[in-house]
């Protein structure tokens, strides 16, 4: 099993954000998580990437129990993620932002930095090359030296993708990548996501844009009020009673 969560639950005081969810992410496929606002999707991602500790349940990745593993260790194992608001360093260039993405694969420390050892030089080169590579992959090479604050929303999203890709992940969690961008740009991102999977990655994404989900997702899980209410192929989910109910009349699944 690639990524598997078993009876995952997260409680915030009196609020049950994620309730007893069991789900498997299929390797090499595009897995989607949908659900009305407040359904617990982002919390679910936070649990997988390690920013929250689950109240109960387990998470296994590539056969290893990662439930107690801190977030940065999970990144080293190959889980990368993006955020709804990109969290990029606005006052720095795209290149400066993406270079740090490969840092987890390097081991030079304070002394290496101050004394400019060969190791530091080597690793700095590696990070730069990786950055150029991922920027090329997402199509942002031409704005590598632009300040992030001056990018369009879509470019910022692509930059966030690049940053995640620079960590050399196996699983990429995308949190509402198409939020705030127009239909043309959405198509561009769809292509990018498909390209990522064709290159061997596994993608798990949260989205509200149903057209996008229906077009590219291989499997979908539906959350409502923190619980899993449906799971399956786009066709199966589209016609699922509980899902239609949750979205109040099914008008959202168009």
């Amino acid at each position: 099993m690639f990524l598997h969560v078993e009876r995952l639950t997260k409680r915030f005081g009196g609020l049950l954000a994620v309730n007893d969810v069991t789900f498997s992410v299929e390797q090499g496929k595009i897995n989607a998580i949908i659900g009305p606002n407040g359904a617990g999707k982002s919390t679910f991602f936070n649990l997988i990437s390690g920013l929250h500790r689950p109240t109960s349940g387990t998470i296994t990745f590539k056969g290893r129990d990662i439930t107690r593993l801190p977030a940065n260790e999970r990144a080293k194992l190959g889980i990368a993620r993006t955020f709804q608001t990109t969290h990029l360093f606005e006052q720095a260039t795209v290149m400066d932002n993406v270079i740090i993405g490969h840092r987890l694969r390097t081991s030079s420390n304070l002394f290496d930095a101050i004394l400019r050892t060969k190791r530091h030089h080597r690793e700095e080169q590696a990070c730069k090359e990786k950055a150029m590579e991922v920027l090329d992959f997402v199509g942002l090479t031409h704005v590598a030296d632009r300040m992030v604050a001056n990018l369009s929303q879509e470019q910022k999203k692509r930059a966030a993708f690049a940053l995640a890709l620079a960590t050399d992940p196996e699983l990429v969690l995308l949190d509402e990548p198409a939020a705030g961008i127009n239909p043309d740009e959405t198509e561009g991102l769809e292509e990018l996501i498909v390209k990522m999977v064709e290159g061997g990655l596994t993608v798990c994404l949260i989205e509200h844009k149903m057209s996008m989900i229906m077009k590219i997702a291989d499997r979908i899980m539906v959350l409502n009020y923190g619980e899993k209410i449906a799971e399956g192929t786009p066709e199966e989910v589209k016609n699922n009673e509980a899902v239609i109910q949750a979205y109040l009349g099914g008008s959202a699944i168009a």
Partner: protein
């Protein structure tokens, strides 16, 4: 045994003052997530305003306290509007530095206007009474009684009134509260007003014993921070319980361990607690 109970009563008095100060601090932190480093300055101003009201304006003690609570409450509102509101979207680092700037200014102001000397606050409650064989000044009884009454009033206010509920709602989710129509600005101002008033009350009650001087806020405010970290930032019961625990520890520590180092007790407790539980004792499970 007698000494022990005497110290317990002392601890009750000291704890009451600490709790009042900590309450003001925790209210502001709970609602606005700002650790108001300038709270000590509000405490100090409270003492001075009461003193001035009594000596320059001839007000009786009780009225002077009320005037002080109002004045310092307004000062708190000013702080919120002029400094913390503009910084609401800035990194948290900026809030802290700005508060430090305010603290510096108010202390320098007090020193400039009223001088650096230790001043006494005349109180009509200096008489000593004997209760169950223990000697207490009425002032101390007043402190304890006022603190308890105010805490009960505050509790009722927060739980039973609409405004109180708004404060709690805003503490949980500022944007959400805004969306459901709660005027977050008004609530912020009100919170700061309450915070300032509580500090002024605490100072006015404690000054007859501890004197009035520009640096009077320092130790108290540091301890108040210790208290709210122990009790949980934003937790009202935590502030109250923590305040009394600290009050007792200090009283007993001063008598049985060492008077010189009694102030370190607070910080020693802080270090121990934070080492074991980095998020405080009563912290709500946020992560």
């Amino acid at each position: 045994m007698e000494l022990f109970i005497q110290q317990l009563l002392n601890g009750l008095t000291v704890g009451s003052v600490y709790s009042l100060v900590a309450l003001g601090l925790t209210l502001v932190y709970g609602i606005l997530h700002i650790p108001n480093f300038a709270h000590g300055a509000l405490y100090m101003m409270g003492g001075y305003v009461t003193l001035m009201a009594m000596t320059k304006l001839g007000m009786p003690y009780g009225i002077a306290i009320v005037a002080s609570m109002a004045a310092v409450g307004l000062l708190g509102v000013l702080m919120e509007r002029l400094v913390f509101y503009p910084l609401r979207n800035a990194p948290p680092l900026h809030d802290k530095i700005a508060a430090i700037g305010i603290l510096l200014f108010l202390e320098a102001f007090a020193q400039f206007v009223w001088g650096a000397d230790y001043q006494t606050m005349p109180t009509p409650y200096g008489d000593v009474v004997t209760v169950f064989g223990f000697t207490l000044t009425i002032q101390r009884i007043l402190i304890i009684a006022s603190a308890v009454i105010i805490m009960i009033l505050l509790y009722l206010f927060l739980k039973k009134t609409f405004i109180g509920a708004s404060i709690i709602a805003m503490a949980q989710n500022r944007e959400g509260a805004n969306l459901v129509g709660i005027n977050t600005n008004k609530v912020a101002m009100l919170t700061f007003f309450l915070s300032g008033s509580l500090a002024a009350l605490a100072a006015s009650l404690a000054s007859p014993i501890n004197l009035v001087f520009p640096g009077m806020g320092h130790l108290v405010i540091l301890k108040a921070f210790v208290i709210i970290i122990l009790g949980g930032m934003g937790s009202i019961p935590g502030a109250i319980v923590g305040g009394y625990i600290l009050g007792f520890s200090e009283s007993l520590g001063a008598t049985y361990v060492s008077n010189d180092y009694k102030d370190i007790i607070a910080f020693a407790i802080l270090v121990i607690i934070l080492t074991v539980k980095p998020n405080g004792l009563f912290a709500k499970e946020g992560r």
